[in-house]
């Protein structure tokens, strides 16, 4: 704040005070305006639409249905099938992905020759679009001439039909997700690992902790905030999985998630209801169901984290008095 009160400058002071008072809000306003218009408002309006019958062909006619879209959805086997597929694909793509990223980050954290090369190399898949990656993996997983079946042949495995069988298809789709995001998550973990104070490791080593024990009692707790962060991001991503199964289905089977809906996700079902069956009200109900499921997962995750943090750890890492950087 300006302290000098020079009468000649009083006019300038008013402007100055206005500058200090109002300008911050104008600086942050664009974010809130654009997000409000194209992010928050549509999300809320989705709920309003989900209470109506709206057809894609006549978007302006809305016919009140109350909760009928939701009750019909919950009686629809395709919804539960899509929910279960989203869940299983989510688990088999997220869990190995984050575990591998953790291991990869640990390796990258060694004193390393060519560390920049390895970092860039594992991040390269992140530069490919869902579309390109899914196209390539669809070919690698091809039944008759795909490279993966060719390699499996050496181990005496007969050609698998990756697309038409449920678990192989879900596994193949998860592979695309894992390939694209593992390096990215590894770099997040690496960044957090490098911020762990070195003396924690030294103290653990003096106490006779092996490398594995150091990893478990110093590294993993030290980056727990980042781990939570990646779990949240991966969960959001997994709930909305869309492009990978769509393209993996190659053509007419894409939107339905395979001939028997064996890999139809909630995202695909939403698209099918809205843009293939023209039922925007139902599509909105699915969108809100996804939103509620996400909230449910986060609440569960919170509760779980609180319960887990209460159980004592077997080996406690020695702590030095040090100002905490997490606030």
């Amino acid at each position: 704040m300006a302290t000098s009160i020079d009468p000649r400058q009083s006019r300038r002071n008013i402007l100055h005070r206005l500058d200090l008072g109002a300008v911050p809000y104008t600086f942050i306003a664009p974010f809130f305006l654009i997000f409000g218009a194209f992010g928050l408002y549509p999300l809320l309006y989705t709920f309003w639409i989900s209470l109506h019958r709206v057809e894609l062909s006549s978007l302006d006619t809305m016919e009140w249905r109350g909760l009928a879209n939701f009750t019909e959805l919950f009686e629809d086997d395709r919804f539960w099938n899509a929910l279960s597929n989203t869940f299983t694909i989510g688990v088999i793509s997220t869990v190995p992905q984050l575990l591998m990223a953790l291991g990869l980050a640990h390796l990258l954290n060694y004193r390393l020759r060519g560390s920049v090369f390895f970092r860039v190399a594992v991040l390269t898949p992140y530069a490919t679009s869902v579309a390109a990656a899914a196209l390539v993996f669809t070919m690698l997983f091809e039944r008759d001439f795909g490279m993966i079946n060719w390699v499996l042949g050496f181990f005496g495995v007969d050609n698998l039909d990756w697309e038409s069988q449920k678990w192989p298809a879900q596994f193949a789709i998860s592979t695309i997700v894992i390939w694209r995001w593992t390096g990215y998550n590894a770099l997040l973990y690496l960044a957090a690992m490098q911020a762990i104070p070195k003396d924690l490791y030294e103290a653990a080593a003096i106490d006779g902790a092996s490398r594995w024990q150091q990893f478990r009692t110093v590294t993993v707790p030290g980056i727990s905030a980042t781990i939570v962060f990646t779990i949240v991001l991966s969960t959001i991503g997994a709930t909305q999985l869309f492009g990978e199964p769509l393209i993996f289905g190659q053509g007419p089977n894409g939107i339905s998630g395979g001939a028997d809906n064996q890999y139809q996700t909630l995202g695909l079902l939403l698209y099918e209801e809205g843009w293939k069956n023209y039922q925007m009200g139902r599509a909105s109900a699915i969108a809100w169901a996804m939103f509620l499921i996400l909230i449910l997962i986060f609440v569960l995750q919170r509760v779980l984290a609180r319960v887990l943090s209460r159980t004592p750890r077997p080996v406690k890492a020695p702590r030095r008095a040090r100002p905490s950087r997490t606030s």
Partner: protein
């Protein structure tokens, strides 16, 4: 949520990026040269890392191989491992069949505009949250972070209707407008500016009679250039690769690259090596960017990531 994300971003100072003076880090490095990494990597670490690099890069290499052969060769076992003679022929066919020329131009416009606008608004808001005092600052910042938890895709139905009402159906503005700002970008810039921008510099500017916009223009922007470049690249990658909403909002007459590529998978093109040529073309601009700026992008992600 703040407590979850904040340390991730605040603590992440990868050595790969020449960032602002982080006094604590520099101090530690002087006291204990070589601090920060624990052990020398053994042969096993190199083998595992080599394997990870191979798995990461091989599908891209193989895309190139498949795109340079022909349909019969690519469908033989064993599959081809070395490039063939047909690369340019297949690229040309893919370019035509999937309308990739127009798609590339569209993607360039979309990704360019979104990245520019995201960087500008993020720096503006990030500066306000980092250095300006105003009522409700913390709550508003918490709101920004909270919006990261709202996946924009859940609003696609009304968004589609809005775009139809605005007359933007099937056109680029319908893809550009919803993503002009990013919460992660705001937070990213705020974290950087909190540490990199000394309060004294702003006070000095104020004593010289500079108003906030002038301070932003002549003090903040020059200092914030490195993270702005990183944020630009990361946002560009995301916008170029974005799929769900563009797939809904655009049709095949006016697609972005990922949308155009679905045409290759949907059975319009039967030739597998042409499909791979299309996939290669759609990825090439970003691969080139990675080749040139890979180090900076890695550093940027390690500073505080963006995931779409």
């Amino acid at each position: 949520m703040t407590t979850d994300i904040a340390p991730v971003l605040a603590d992440a100072h990868g050595r790969t990026t020449p960032t602002a003076p982080d006094r604590r880090n520099r101090f530690r490095r002087v006291l204990r040269p070589g601090a920060g990494r624990q052990h020398h990597a053994g042969p096993l670490a190199y083998i595992l890392l080599g394997l990870a690099a191979l798995v990461s890069l091989f599908p891209l290499y193989w895309t190139m191989v498949a795109a340079s052969t022909d349909n019969t060769r690519v469908s033989q076992t064993p599959p081809p491992f070395l490039p063939g003679p047909n690369l340019f022929k297949n690229l040309a066919t893919a370019w035509q069949d999937a309308a990739l020329g127009k798609a590339m131009l569209n993607s360039l416009i979309v990704a360019g505009v979104i990245a520019l606008s995201t960087v500008f608004f993020a720096t503006l808001a990030g500066f306000a949250f980092a250095k300006l005092r105003f009522k409700g600052r913390n709550i508003l910042l918490l709101l920004v972070i909270g919006t990261m938890l709202v996946p924009p895709q859940l609003g696609v139905v009304p968004l589609f209707m809005m775009m139809a009402d605005l007359g933007w159906g099937q056109s680029l503005p319908s893809v550009i407008f919803p993503t002009l700002v990013s919460a992660v970008g705001v937070f990213f810039m705020r974290q950087y500016l909190t540490e990199a921008l000394p309060d004294e510099l702003i006070e000095a500017g104020r004593l010289d009679g500079a108003h906030s916009l002038r301070i932003f223009w002549s003090i903040v922007l020059p200092i914030a250039r490195p993270p702005m470049a990183v944020l630009f690249m990361i946002t560009f990658v995301h916008a170029w690769n974005d799929f769900f909403w563009p797939f809904i909002a655009l049709d095949m007459t006016n697609p972005t690259v990922p949308v155009a590529l679905t045409q290759l998978s949907a059975g319009y093109v039967r030739d597998q090596s042409v499909i791979m040529a299309g996939a290669l073309l759609g990825t090439l601009p970003l691969l080139a960017m990675f080749l040139v700026f890979g180090r900076q992008i890695v550093g940027g992600i390690m500073q505080g990531a963006v995931k779409g």
